[in-house]
C-alpha cells in the first residue's frame, strides 16, 4: 500500500460513516485535501445497516450511492479502510498522527467476483447483521461496500482455507503475506466522526437479553426487516423462526438511566415508531406493535410522524418503563412485567418478540483519545482545547442521520478554517 500524502494543509477525518463521509466530502469539495480513515473494511458505518430511514421511510442505499459517487469523483479525497488512529501529537494546524493499517489480505486487483468466497467453507459472524448470521471467511462486507473489495478474515490466514481463497482468485488479488502497517502522517486539523455503538443490552440484567432468545435489540430488528438481513426481510423470531406478529418495543433501554447511559439517546423513540411500520408492512392489520415508554420524544418536526403512528390501529402505547422480562417456557414468549403510570395498573403481558430500543453509546467509550480532547460526561466528543480537532455527528452527540449530516458539515467548516489560517500564515 502506498502511504497517503498528507501535509499540514490536510484535514484528517476519523470514521467513515455518514458523518465522516459528509465532513470529508464537504471539505474536499471546497478544494481542501482530505484523508478519510475508517476502522472497518468499508465506508457506510451504521447507517448502511439500517433498513429504512425515518421520517421518509426511504432506504439508506440511495443516500449511500450519492455519497460514494461524490467520493469516487473527487481527487482531493483519499480514503483508507481498516485503518485506526493510534496516536496524535502536536497542536492546531500541525498534528502528527500515527495510523495503524490492518491487513485485508486482498489487494486492489480485486474485482469482487466472489470466487474466493465460494472456495472457502469456514464461516465467521457477520458483523453487517450484528452477528445474527454467519458469512464465509472470505467476504464482501455488504452489497454497498466501498471499496468493492473482498476481505479475508484473519482467522483463516495461514490455514488451508486461506490457501483455497488464494487459489480461487483469478486476478491474483489475495495476498496472504500482508502485514499490519504503522504510518506517520502530518495533518492540519482532525474531525472525529467516530460514531456510536448500540449500548450493550447484556448489561440491562432485568431485561434478559442474554438469556431470552426472543428479546432482541433495535439494531438487530433493522436487520430482520432488511431483505439483505439474516431472514431475507421476514420478521421471524430467533427462538423458533415463527412469525413475530405481536411485537413489543421497550424505550430507554439503557438511556436516561444513571445505571447505564445518563443521556437521552434522542433517536430511539423515532426508531421504534418507525419500526412499528415494519410490523405493519410485514403483516398488515394482523400485526400488532406495543410501545412501552416513559415519554415519547419525537423531536421537532417528527411530531407529525408520531401523530400518524398514534392513529395506526395496529400500534398501542403503554406509559411505563418495563421493570423486568420473564420467559414463558412453554412457547418462548417474553412476558413483560411492570406498572403503568396512567392508572398504576400492574401488568404481565406476553409478546412474540421484544425489541429493546437500545441507546447510543459513543464508539470511543473506553478508548484512549489524545489528552487534549474534551468529552462530556457521556463520552461524546466536544473537540480539542487547542481548537484544531472537532467532534462530528453521533460522536459529538446522540443524533439521527439528518442531524449527524448537519453536525458533520459544521465540523468540516471549522476544520477548513484551521487549514485556511495555516495557508495564510505560510503565505505571509
Amino acid at each position: 500500500m502506498t502511504a497517503p500524502i498528507a501535509t499540514n494543509q490536510t484535514i484528517l477525518v476519523v470514521g467513515g460513516g455518514i458523518s465522516g463521509m459528509t465532513a470529508a466530502l464537504e471539505a474536499a469539495e471546497c478544494g481542501k485535501q482530505v484523508l478519510l480513515v475508517e476502522k472497518t473494511p468499508t465506508l457506510g458505518g451504521r447507517t448502511a445497516q439500517l433498513y429504512r430511514y425515518f421520517p421518509k421511510m426511504c432506504h439508506p442505499t440511495c443516500g449511500m450511492e450519492i455519497n460514494l459517487k461524490r467520493i469516487r469523483g473527487n481527487p482531493n479525497l483519499r480514503t483508507m479502510t481498516m485503518t485506526q488512529v493510534v496516536a496524535v501529537s502536536g497542536s492546531r494546524g500541525d498534528y502528527k498522527v500515527t495510523l495503524k493499517v490492518s491487513p485485508r489480505y486482498v489487494n486492489e486487483n480485486c474485482t469482487a467476483c466472489g470466487k474466493c468466497g465460494e472456495a472457502v467453507s469456514a464461516e465467521v459472524a457477520d458483523a453487517y447483521n450484528y452477528g445474527l448470521s454467519k458469512v464465509r471467511a472470505a467476504y464482501l462486507p455488504h452489497v454497498m461496500a466501498y471499496p468493492q473489495r473482498y476481505v479475508i478474515d484473519a482467522s483463516i490466514v495461514g490455514t488451508p482455507e486461506g490457501e483455497k481463497a488464494k487459489a480461487a482468485c483469478p486476478v491474483n488479488a489475495v495476498d496472504l503475506d500482508m502485514k499490519e502497517e504503522t504510518i506517520e502522517i502530518n495533518v492540519g486539523a482532525v474531525v472525529w466522526a467516530t460514531g456510536w455503538r448500540p449500548f450493550d443490552a447484556n448489561k440491562i440484567q432485568p431485561y434478559g437479553y442474554d438469556r431470552i432468545a426472543n428479546v432482541i435489540t433495535s439494531v438487530e430488528f433493522e436487520r430482520l426487516a432488511d431483505p439483505h438481513g439474516p431472514t431475507g426481510g421476514k420478521l421471524l423470531r430467533p427462538s423458533d423462526g415463527n412469525p413475530a406478529k405481536n411485537v413489543a418495543f421497550i424505550q430507554c433501554a439503557g438511556s436516561r438511566d444513571e445505571n447505564y447511559l445518563r443521556h437521552c439517546s434522542r433517536i430511539c423513540c423515532m426508531a421504534s415508531l418507525k419500526q412499528t411500520q415494519y410490523v405493519r408492512e410485514a403483516w398488515g392489520d394482523a400485526g400488532k406493535s406495543t410501545i412501552y415508554y416513559i415519554d415519547i420524544r419525537a423531536i421537532d418536526r417528527f411530531e407529525d410522524f408520531y401523530a400518524n403512528v398514534w392513529k395506526d390501529s395496529t400500534v398501542s402505547f403503554v406509559k411505563s418503563k418495563v421493570a423486568r422480562i420473564a420467559e414463558n417456557e412453554a412457547n418462548g414468549n417474553p412476558v413483560l412485567h411492570g406498572v403503568d403510570t396512567e392508572g398504576y395498573h400492574r401488568y404481565a403481558t406476553e409478546h412474540d418478540l421484544v425489541v429493546l430500543a437500545v441507546g447510543m453509546e459513543p464508539e470511543v467509550t473506553g478508548v484512549k483519545l489524545p489528552a487534549d480532547i474534551v468529552m462530556d460526561s457521556s463520552n461524546f466528543i466536544e473537540g480539542s482545547k487547542d481548537g484544531g480537532m472537532f467532534g462530528a455527528g453521533a460522536a459529538s452527540s446522540p443524533l439521527d442521520v439528518n442531524r449527524a449530516v448537519q453536525s458533520a458539515t459544521a465540523a468540516s467548516l471549522k476544520a477548513i478554517q484551521v487549514i485556511h489560517k495555516n495557508a495564510s500564515t505560510e503565505a505571509a
Partner: protein, 201 residues
C-alpha cells in the same frame, strides 16, 4: 376555572422527611413499582406515593400503610434510573407519619417496630424472650397463648441450642452503662426533633 398547582405538601416533605428532597426527581417511569417484591400487596406503589405527594394528597399519603410494607430489600434503589434513595424515602415517610400520629393504627409492621424499639431502649440490648412474648400477646391474652403454644417446639429447640435463655424473663442481660445509653438516645431524639422542627413526643 383553572386549578392552581399547590406544592405545599411537597415542600413539607422536603423539609421534614429524610431524603424528601429527592421526591421531585421522580420521572414516573414505574420501575420501582414493578421491581418491588411486595408490589402487588401495597395500596400505593412508591411511584404513586411520589405523585400523590406532588399532588398535595397529604392525608392519603401519611395515613397510607404502603411505606410500612417496605422490607428494605433495596431492589428499587438499585433499579431506579434516577438513583432515588426510594427505600430511605419510604422509611422517612413512615417515620414522619408516625411522629405526626397519622400512621395507620394496628399496622403489623409498625406494631412490631414499636415493640422492638421499646424492648431495645430499656437495657440497650434486645431481650429476645420478652420481644417474642410481646409479639405473641400484642393481639390479646387468648391469641397470645395460642401463638405461644404454636411456637412451643421452636422455643424448646432454641433453649436446647442455648439460643434462648428462660432466665431473661427476670430482667435479662444489659449493656454496661444503661444510663449512658438512655442519655444518648434522649440526646439523639433532641437533635432529630430540632432538625425536623418538631418538639417533644
Amino acid at each position: 376555572m383553572t386549578a392552581t398547582y399547590k406544592n405545599d405538601f411537597l415542600k413539607e416533605v422536603e423539609a421534614n422527611v429524610e431524603d424528601g428532597q429527592w421526591v421531585k426527581m421522580c420521572m414516573q417511569c414505574g420501575v420501582c413499582a414493578g421491581s418491588c417484591p411486595l408490589g402487588p400487596h401495597w395500596q400505593h406503589s412508591p411511584q404513586k406515593i411520589f405523585m400523590m405527594i406532588r399532588a398535595g394528597k397529604r392525608e392519603e399519603v401519611l395515613t397510607s400503610d404502603s411505606m410500612w410494607m417496605c422490607t428494605s430489600c433495596y431492589n428499587c434503589i438499585v433499579r431506579c434510573p434516577r438513583k432515588l434513595p426510594i427505600t430511605h424515602i419510604m422509611h422517612g415517610l413512615a417515620n414522619y407519619a408516625h411522629r405526626l400520629g397519622l400512621a395507620p393504627k394496628g399496622q403489623p409492621t409498625r406494631e412490631i417496630a414499636k415493640l422492638f424499639w421499646d424492648n431495645i431502649v430499656k437495657t440497650g440490648r434486645v431481650n429476645e424472650l420478652k420481644f417474642s412474648l410481646a409479639m405473641y400477646f400484642k393481639d390479646g391474652f387468648g391469641q397470645g397463648v395460642k401463638n405461644a403454644m404454636a411456637m412451643q417446639g421452636i422455643g424448646l429447640g432454641l433453649m436446647k441450642a442455648k439460643r434462648l435463655n428462660p432466665m431473661e424473663m427476670l430482667g435479662g442481660h444489659t449493656c454496661k452503662d444503661k444510663g449512658g445509653i438512655h442519655k444518648m438516645i434522649a440526646k439523639a431524639r433532641e437533635i432529630e426533633d430540632r432538625r425536623k422542627g418538631l418538639s417533644g413526643h
